[in-house]
């Protein structure tokens, strides 16, 4: 037998299916991946950046690019496991069809989550490339080191989306998810200004949101600044713990919805 556990081949089978679909939409996905960061960097770099010389010991561009990397990864995974997964589960009933095969529910959900994280990684990579061309990545090696962290965090973002899918009865439900989860992370996680500007009470909210922890790790990396090992472990630990809780919750909920 191979070293890869048997279950992994079934999980990658699910991921492979997503890849087949993505391949067909390659150009449109590439176009959005490139156009989005350019538009954002244009707004922040030219607009806000003009008024800010340096922030937290780096140029404003170096500050905002890792924020954008995190946000685009978060948005991409969130979209994939909400609107995307819900369509497959509820509208097209392909989850039902999948579960009629030897694929188990855990493998199906993992396949969805892994693919969402791969897509996140691709958007992160394109923001990174454009940010670098724009001059917003002081440490390329640091930024590349940040990518695995983005991937791990994106597994989490995918799981939070799955939680929303496990509760959704229709597409309208996801407007709550985007309004009360995705947008707050854009606002409170320090994408385009330091969360230290917030009053302490609001900062508590910031630190509850997983994206804040992701940015706290990848911003010093891409800026070429030192990382505090203790805090870094804490950030990563929080991301992983929240991911596990979200996955287990989504799994239990979806299991009940499909099989009972």
């Amino acid at each position: 037998m191979s070293l890869v556990p048997r279950g992994a081949t079934y999980t990658t089978a699910v991921t492979w299916r997503q890849y087949l679909v993505w391949r067909k939409l390659l150009w449109s996905s590439l176009a959005t991946n490139i156009a989005n960061p350019i538009l954002f960097l244009f707004a922040f770099g030219f607009g806000l950046g003009r008024f800010i010389d340096s922030i937290d010991g780096m140029t404003y561009l170096a500050f905002v690019v890792p924020g954008m990397i995190a946000y685009s990864a978060m948005f991409s995974a969130s979209f994939e496991t909400t609107i995307g997964s819900f369509s497959r589960y509820y509208m097209h009933r392909t989850w039902d069809a999948t579960l009629a095969t030897p694929v188990t529910l855990v493998e199906l959900l993992l396949g969805e989550v892994v693919w969402a994280a791969v897509k996140s990684l691709l958007s992160a990579l394109s923001v990174l490339a454009i940010g670098w061309v724009w001059g917003g990545i002081p440490s390329v090696s640091g930024a590349l080191l940040a990518l695995p962290v983005v991937f791990v965090a994106s597994i989490g973002f995918a799981c939070y989306g799955l939680v929303a899918t496990s509760l959704a009865r229709g597409y309208e439900f996801f407007s709550y998810f985007f309004t009360f989860w995705v947008t707050p992370m854009f606002v409170f996680s320090g994408v385009f200004f330091s969360i230290e500007r917030f009053p302490p009470g609001v900062q508590v909210i910031s630190w509850l949101l997983p994206m804040t922890h992701l940015i706290a790790v990848i911003r010093p990396l891409s800026a070429g600044l030192p990382l505090d090992p203790g805090w870094t472990l804490l950030h990563l630990g929080y991301l992983v713990a929240l991911t596990v809780v979200a996955f287990l919750f989504a799994y239990a909920k979806i299991r009940r919805r499909i099989f009972d």
């Binding site: 089978a13 009933r93 009629a100 030897p102 009972d260």
Partner: protein
């Protein structure tokens, strides 16, 4: 194990909240047979099939598939079953052959086996010209054939077919019947639901009639006909001729006519007056079905 049934249900119950969709049924499906599950809308057919597939949990009772309780169904057992669900559930984002290939991966097949199986199955369901079409470009009948092809990708020993020919034209139905008979000849076991009685009569070795989650009767099509509607039906228009209204006949009032079930035509022809308006035909499964499950519509 050779003679033990492929599917065995004992006192099988399924509850959705307060609703008891399946109320303690017992049945068995033997190897290399085609067993038909017939019943009106909402009878519990799909629910029963979903329990067999492990897609719905069993509320109470026992259900084994290939001798394994469904709660403990492992991958090897699952790989021996193919499902044609009532609703198509095809993947609209990928092509016809990709639908089959993806499903092949779900069954853990190697790329080589998939490459060999896909064209074979497309040909088997006469879809070879559509391999690279998108699912949305297929007609309803083609989609149905693709769902059947998909169920066969893992070369299953047991095929579960939930209304496989609903919505198909007569040509497609005949073609699918032929292919299903072929599968049975190959030794595959079939569990089938249908609302077409001619289909059940043609394909099924044994029929289980189910309604409101309970089994009403089961047997071969011939046994069921003999048991419930004898061999011939005389539909006699009202008002009834003298002498026909007494209770000595096996009869059923259907409103503006009475149905008389008789073993052989002379039994009743000798009694019918010359002026009686009637229709005579051999009894069929449809008569059995309506007699057992009633004639009222099931839209509740």
């Amino acid at each position: 194990m050779a003679d033990s049934p492929i599917i065995a249900a004992r006192a099988l119950i399924k509850r959705y909240g307060k609703l008891e969709a399946v109320k303690g049924i017992d049945f068995a499906v033997e190897r290399a047979r085609c067993i038909g599950l017939l019943g009106p809308n909402g009878a519990g057919k799909t629910t029963t099939m979903r329990m067999v597939m492990g897609l719905a949990t069993v509320s109470a009772g026992e259900l084994t598939v290939f001798g394994v309780p469904v709660q403990k169904m492992d991958r090897q057992t699952k790989a021996k079953i193919g499902l044609v669900p009532q609703e198509n559930s095809l993947d609209p984002d990928i092509t016809v052959s990709e639908n089959l290939a993806v499903y092949g991966r779900y069954y853990g097949l190697s790329a080589a086996v998939i490459a060999e199986q896909v064209p074979r199955l497309l040909a088997f369901m006469q879809l070879q010209g559509r391999a690279s079409a998108r699912v949305i470009q297929l007609s309803g009948g083609m989609k149905r054939r693709l769902v059947i092809a998909r169920a066969l990708i893992g070369d299953p020993e047991l095929l579960i077919l939930d209304e496989p020919t609903t919505g198909l034209d007569p040509q497609a139905r005949v073609m699918i019947w032929k292919q299903l008979m072929e599968l049975k000849k190959q030794g595959k076991t079939l569990l089938l639901t249908t609302h077409y009685m001619d289909e059940a009569q043609r394909l099924c070795d044994r029929i289980i009639v189910i309604d409101h989650g309970e089994i009403l009767d089961e047997g071969t099509p011939g046994q069921l006909i003999a048991r419930h509607v004898k061999g011939h039906v005389f539909e006699v228009q009202k008002p009834l001729p003298n002498g026909m209204a007494d209770g000595s006949w096996d009869q059923e009032d259907i409103g503006d006519a009475i149905l008389y079930y008789v073993q052989s035509p002379p039994d009743i022809l000798n009694e019918l007056p010359d002026d009686a308006v009637y229709l005579h035909r051999p009894a069929n499964l449809e008569d059995v079905f309506l007699r057992l499950t009633g004639r009222k519509l099931r839209e509740t």
